[in-house]
Structure formats: C-alpha cells, structure tokens
Subunit: 135 residues, 2 copies
DNA sequence: CTGCGACTTGAAGTGCGATTCAAGTCAAGG
DNA sequence: CCTTGACTTGAATCGCACTTCAAGTCGCAG
C-alpha cells in the first residue's frame, strides 16, 4: 500500500526526461528524491508536476539556475518577484520576435525571390529593433 | 568617394556583434566580406541587414547552421521550404508556450502561495502537453 | 625605416545543458 | 552463494556559440 513512490526509471519515462537529466536537476537543486530503495531514488508523484514546470520554463529560455531560484520563491521575496516581472516583459519581446519570425517563415515558404535576403517582405519581418541577441 | 565599404570594427559596432562573432559567422558561411584593406575585412553596408536577420533568427532559436541553410535558399528548393513550414509550426508552439509562461510569471509576481509550486494558478500555466523540451 | 596599434590567423578555452562512460552497489532469483 | 541486470557514482565528453589567446601582419605617422 505504500506504493505511492515512483522510482527513477518511472519518473524518467513519465516525464520524458532521461535519468541522467533527473540526477542533473537534483544536483542543481530543482528536484529531490523522497527517499531510496537501496541505491535507487524514489520520488513522490508530485515530482512530475515539478518536472513539467521545469521543462516548460527551460523551453521558455530560462536557465536551470534561474528555475532553481524561482522554485524556492516565497511570497515575501519581492526581489525575486521583481525579477519575474522583468522576465515576463522579456518574454513579451520574445513572443513578438517569434511571431515576426513565424510570419516571415510562412511567407518565405511561398515567395519567389532568388534568395531570402532579396525578398523585401522577408526582410521586413526581421528588420526590427537592433536586438542584442540575449539567449 | 569609394567609402561605401565598412571595415570590421564599424560593422561590429553598428551590428552590436563582436568582431570575433563576425569572423565566426564568416567561417560558417553566413556572411562574406566584400574585400580587404590590407588584412582588414571590408563589408558592403547591406551586411548589416543580413546580420540583423541572423540575430533575429538566432534569438528565435535557430542554430547558426540552420540560418546558413536558409540564407542560400532559392525558390526551387522545395525541401527547404518544407523545413521552413515545419519551423513556422514549431514557432507557433513556442509562442503558445511562451505566452503561458508569461501569464504564469505575471501571476506569480503577485500571488501569495508559500512557494510557486503550491500555487494552483501557476501550475496550471505550465501543466501543458508533455513537451519533450527541444531547444 | 621604425614603431605603434589595430587588425589578422588558427587553436584553445568557456559556459551551459546535458549525455556517456567506467566502475561500483544493490535486491532478487536460481 | 553467485549471477544478473537495473540502478548508483563522479568524471569525462559532447555540441553549440562564441570568446580569448599567442603570434603574426599590415598601414601609416613620424
């Protein structure tokens, strides 16, 4: 009846992450096993929620270190909340850029210029404000 | 009067990229100098457009190798056009994810749960489809 | 001609996010 | 008890996008 715990292989499979990645995240403080079964890490099922969050944040461009900081955030941490607001604004810009990029690509898939660089429509999609290329 | 050409330092400054990055891009086939002044590369001004395009694409998550392929695309390259369409679709997903992330962050900046992971609103923002985390 | 300083080169180094590897440990089954 | 096979570990390696470095080369002012 105490089979509430998942072992690492199960978590890996369900989360879509490699076991090595789980150990990597653990080292970085993003997750922690509930205990061990012999040498094997065992996790509470809610680690899956956490991992979904991590994956999403990763794919949104956050570093593992940043995510670690977010995960320990408390309501009193105004400093971190400010950083989050900043991040939200950055995401806003990213979204705008990606949207332009998507439109440009869509057009490129059908336009008839010799090379993309010669296509004025395509160029327009990218001649935005001089971005310093963060990432 | 033939001062239409910019030298590498000028291009670096105007594009916001390091000279080393320009040389790197050259090695990867993304840009080419118009000529040399002694050892110094000189560029036609339109290299700046190209670099803006490169920077934008980079920040949209394309690898330098991909960008190189896009830049030499011709209308007949249906294969590449298909890849572009695929990319456009991927961007669509990225945009959706980033949008959720942004909303989650905005909420997080003001909600009052002990840790973010405990905030149901925040969780909801990320409990999307099990993303395999490309990037 | 000489020296300065800004460029040139290829090779090595950096940071991030993992993955891969060799060697070790464990529980369970024969 | 001994094998099997899935896990464990830390260390090494990888890929990407650059940056940094040592050593060399150039144009030009003096």
């Amino acid at each position: 009846m105490s089979e509430a715990l998942l072992d690492i292989a199960e978590v890996a499979e369900r989360s879509g992450l490699a076991p090595s990645a789980l150990r990597f995240y653990e080292k970085k403080g993003l997750i922690a096993p509930a205990g061990r079964n012999g040498l094997r890490r065992t996790y509470r099922p809610d680690v899956l929620d956490r991992l979904a969050l991590v994956s999403c944040a990763r794919s949104a461009g956050f570093t593992v270190a940043e995510i670690g900081r977010f995960l320990v955030a408390t309501p009193g941490d105004t400093d971190l909340r400010a950083r989050m607001a900043v991040k939200a604004r950055e995401l806003e810009e990213d979204i705008a850029r990606l949207t332009r990029m998507r439109d440009g690509l869509r057009h490129a898939a059908t336009c008839a210029h010799e090379t993309l660089v010669e296509c004025p429509d395509f160029k327009r999609a990218f001649a935005g404000p001089p971005q310093p290329v963060p990432r």
